[in-house]
């Protein structure tokens, strides 16, 4: 009784402490881990994961997104859609300046769109339906589309459409502009110093356009190449922030349960990393639909989640993540069923050929996962050979279609028209690129549905289209979907408000503050 009472007191004290600590205090230094070291920080030129994570503090997009992916004000304070669904008007904040002191205006937006169309593969795709961008006055921007595009308001996040200073880039060769090494944005933190191989240092932007923010004086991003060393750095208090994916999965639980450590799986809603096995639909046993279905039935996703991923993640039920718009749980079909898998393998006429399985070369977890999948497939009577590669080799093999089954995971970007369709439509079959319809699936009805779904306006029109597509794709099983991945962000609890939106750490540290 006494024990419960004491525990109760401790708990309420802790709660009182937490409530007390809710007023942000300015000042302090954030020490975070960045892995691997980014090749550059100029977001329009480089879009890899670590670049987006650091540069999200330096650059900004017109919009941000909450965890339900509703747009929030960013560099645009308000926005509206015209009646025809083809005109979007953005009103910009009036007090934003670039880090060199020049004001941020509508001209910069128009220029950024032009620049990104040349340098940013994903932005180029997202902007295909944009016919013109105009600036009727310095704080208004109008996008005119050639046809309505349902997910249009979902393309303005900082990694997808970062704003770039016109006065620095106009008329130069973007790729070799020396300013790429000293990035200038409008964001809450400014680039200060980069000691290659050691750390990147950002400092507070004193003229940030949101009054009172940011709170921190500076951020150090430490480059620590070894996963075990990153875990030790957190354990010994040298760093306070481990962004998702910084440590191996088997360390996540241990580190998050350290005294004074907190963790969250939030902040990935916009990206929703979705993992699956690419099944080569062109040749070999995987060209057969019954065989592909067999693979889907053979996979023990719960085992993979519980053992390989240490309980992180959620079994995927189809091509859409459950956080993506128009996700339909009813389309789900494949659960772990080795008997059914065996029967389907037989039915497919499989003659015992060896199937080449390509793991993702992203560390221990993926290696173990490939071994588990190999075991699952062999239980269903499929002969499997694991093919070891490094990242470059993996890219080459998948983009040359030189595999039978390959692990992958891709971001979904909240809307089927942005992050899902690209893996299943015929027009995205192109040799030489690792992130399109690599499996070679081609189905005219699916092509048509994704095309229609993109231009249909309103949920009432879009939902039935995507419901039907999910059914078809699950039936055809062009790929074997695995897990909706989770990459928890581990911090010391004294770091507050680090993850506040659906973009998580990539949205920058503008709201973050440290209790001192």
């Amino acid at each position: 009784m006494l024990k419960t009472l004491m525990a109760g007191t401790v708990l309420s004290l802790a709660l009182a402490g937490a409530a007390f600590a809710q007023t942000p205090k300015p000042g302090g230094t954030a020490n975070a881990v960045i892995q691997p070291e980014p090749p550059g920080l100029m977001l329009a030129m480089v879009q890899n994961g670590p670049t987006q994570m650091v540069a999200g503090n330096i650059y900004e997009g017109l919009l941000r997104y909450d965890s339900a992916l509703k747009p929030l004000p960013g560099l645009a304070e308000s926005w509206s859609m015209g009646e025809d669904g083809k005109t979007y008007t953005f009103k910009l904040v009036k007090n934003a300046t670039w880090h060199d002191g020049k004001p941020f205006t509508a001209d910069d937006v128009v220029f950024s769109v032009e620049l990104l169309r040349q340098t940013h593969a994903r932005a180029r795709g997202n902007l295909t339906r944009v016919a013109s961008v105009t600036a009727p006055d310095p704080y208004t921007v109008v996008f005119t589309l050639s046809e309505p595009f349902g997910p249009f308001l979902g393309i303005f996040e900082v990694g997808s459409l970062p704003m770039i200073p016109k006065h620095i880039y106009a008329g130069t060769d973007y790729k070799t502009n020396p300013a790429n090494n000293t990035p200038i944005g409008t964001g809450p933190y400014m680039f200060k110093e980069w000691k290659k191989g050691s750390y990147i240092r950002l400092v507070k932007n004193p003229n940030y356009h949101v009054a009172g923010k940011p709170y921190l004086d500076e951020i150090y991003w430490h480059v620590i190449p070894d996963a075990a060393a990153r875990a030790v750095a957190f354990e010994t208090g040298k760093v306070d922030i481990l962004p998702g994916g910084s440590v191996e999965n088997f360390d996540v639980q241990r580190l998050s349960s350290l005294k004074g450590a907190c963790s969250t799986t939030k902040g990935w809603e916009f990206f929703s990393p979705h993992s699956w096995l690419w099944l080569n639909n062109r040749k070999g046993p995987t060209a057969n639909k019954a065989f592909r279905q067999a693979v889907s039935y053979a996979l023990d996703r719960d085992f993979a989640r519980d053992v390989v991923w240490n309980g992180l993640g959620k079994p995927a039920t189809g091509p859409f993540s459950s956080t993506v718009r128009y996700y339909d749980a009813k389309a789900a079909r494949y659960s772990y069923n080795p008997a059914k898998a065996k029967a389907l393998v037989k039915e497919s006429g499989y003659k015992g050929e060896t199937v080449r399985l390509l793991p993702l070369p992203y560390g221990e977890t993926w290696q173990r996962w490939a071994e588990a999948v190999k075991q699952n497939l062999e239980d269903a009577g499929i002969k499997v050979e694991l093919v070891a590669t490094d990242v470059a080799g993996w890219n080459q093999k998948t983009s040359d279609w030189d595999y039978d089954i390959a692990f992958t995971y891709l971001y979904q970007y909240g809307d089927p028209a942005l992050g899902v369709g690209r893996n299943y439509v015929t027009s995205q079959i192109a040799k030489g690129s690792p992130f399109n319809n690599v499996e070679g699936y081609s189905n005219p009805s699916v092509d048509e549905a994704f095309a229609k779904g993109a231009v249909a306006v309103g949920d009432d029109q879009r939902r039935p289209i995507y419901d039907a597509v999910q059914k078809t794709l699950v039936e055809d099983a062009p790929n074997a979907w695995l897990l909706e991945l989770q990459f928890p962000t581990i911090t010391r609890c004294k770091v507050h408000d680090l993850v506040t939106t659906g973009i998580g750490v990539n949205d920058g540290f503008r709201d973050a503050w440290i209790e001192r």
């Binding site: 230094t29 430490h222 480059v223 010994t236 040298k238 590669t389 470059a392 690792p434």
Partner: protein, 322 residues
């Protein structure tokens, strides 16, 4: 002597050229190229994007003309440009070289001095408990994988005892200057230099010990004893000096790896050196940078071979340099 050195340098340049050409083709035999790696990391890449990157890396040129361009810039002592890092290769290597030299140099000094000292001690006390202890410990470090030793050292000295930092070159953001900065760096240096040095120390111990035991049985040692020289003088001037030749050979080999860095140690301790730079360049297929590191470290191997030959002569004047 001067003629000898000149001949060796001329030979060295030819060898270096062969190394460059060989490496140039070897690297390109690995699947994947830098454009694909960058597209892969971006998680998006249409053909236009990849083609753009290939053009940027000059990968759209035929191989012989790529090699020609590389050799031409090499001839002008220019190691080329790393498109990925947006910096000249020489700058990138220059930034990392001091850290590597500090680490491998310290490890070299530790392993050589401790190794010879302990080896000599073990030989002198051959058969005693001290000998058994020294050779036992040496064997242990020789046989244990380096990464394991590193991790255990981190666990003990950083996590449990909190005496030594577990990663980095210096305390980031502390703003130390002058002596306090040097001390801070030294503090960070202890763990990586020790773990890196232990393996080679073990080798020197065993080599010094066995070599000394062998020499001590020779006739001139007996003569020295008969002359009535003190044991210390016999050990130092007669036995050790003559026993050092194989140790010098080995030290020359280790010295050759000084610049190549220690990929493993630098990775585990987040030491910003050449080894890591090379490893990352390899994974990212950053051809120019990788070749640059190879060229510099090969050149150093050649230099240290030359130095070793000269040192041979100093240790044992009977050897003629030719």
């Amino acid at each position: 002597m001067a003629g000898f050195i000149a001949r060796r340098i001329a030979k060295g340049i030819v060898v270096l050229l062969a190394i460059v050409v060989l490496n140039f083709f070897l690297i390109r035999l690995a699947p994947g190229d830098p454009a694909l790696v960058m597209a892969g990391e971006a998680g998006a890449g249409d053909e236009a994007f990849i083609a753009q990157l290939r053009e940027k890396f000059a990968l759209d040129q035929p191989l012989p003309s790529q090699l020609g361009a590389y050799l031409r810039s090499m001839a002008g002592l220019d190691l080329g440009y790393s498109v990925r890092q947006q910096m000249p290769v020489a700058t990138l290597i220059g930034e990392r070289l001091p850290a590597t030299l500090l680490l491998t140099g310290s490890a070299f000094a530790i392993s050589l001095s401790l190794g010879v000292l302990l080896g000599a001690l073990a030989a002198r006390r051959s058969g005693t408990l001290a000998d058994t202890a020294i050779t036992g410990v040496a064997l242990l470090f020789y046989a244990t994988p380096l990464f394991w030793v590193s991790l255990m050292a981190i666990l003990l000295f950083s996590v449990r005892l909190d005496w030594l930092p577990s990663f980095g070159f210096e305390t980031v953001g502390a703003g130390y200057t002058g002596l306090s900065r040097a001390l801070d760096i030294a503090h960070h240096l202890v763990l990586p230099a020790m773990t890196l040095g232990l393996f080679f120390m073990a080798v020197y111990v065993r080599m010094t010990r066995s070599s000394m035991l062998e020499v001590s049985r020779l006739d001139f040692v007996k003569t020295a004893r008969a002359k009535g020289l003190t044991e210390g003088v016999i050990q130092r001037r007669h036995i050790l000096r003559n026993a050092l030749l194989p140790v010098v050979t080995l030290a020359g080999l280790q010295a050759g790896t000084l610049v190549g860095g220690a990929v493993l140690t630098e990775t585990v301790f987040a030491w910003p050196g050449i080894g890591r730079l090379m490893y990352e360049a390899l994974l990212q297929r950053d051809y120019n940078l990788l070749l640059g590191v190879f060229v510099i470290s090969s050149a150093m191997v050649l230099v240290f071979n030359l130095v070793t030959d000269v040192v041979y002569r100093a240790v044992d004047p009977r050897i003629e340099v030719a």
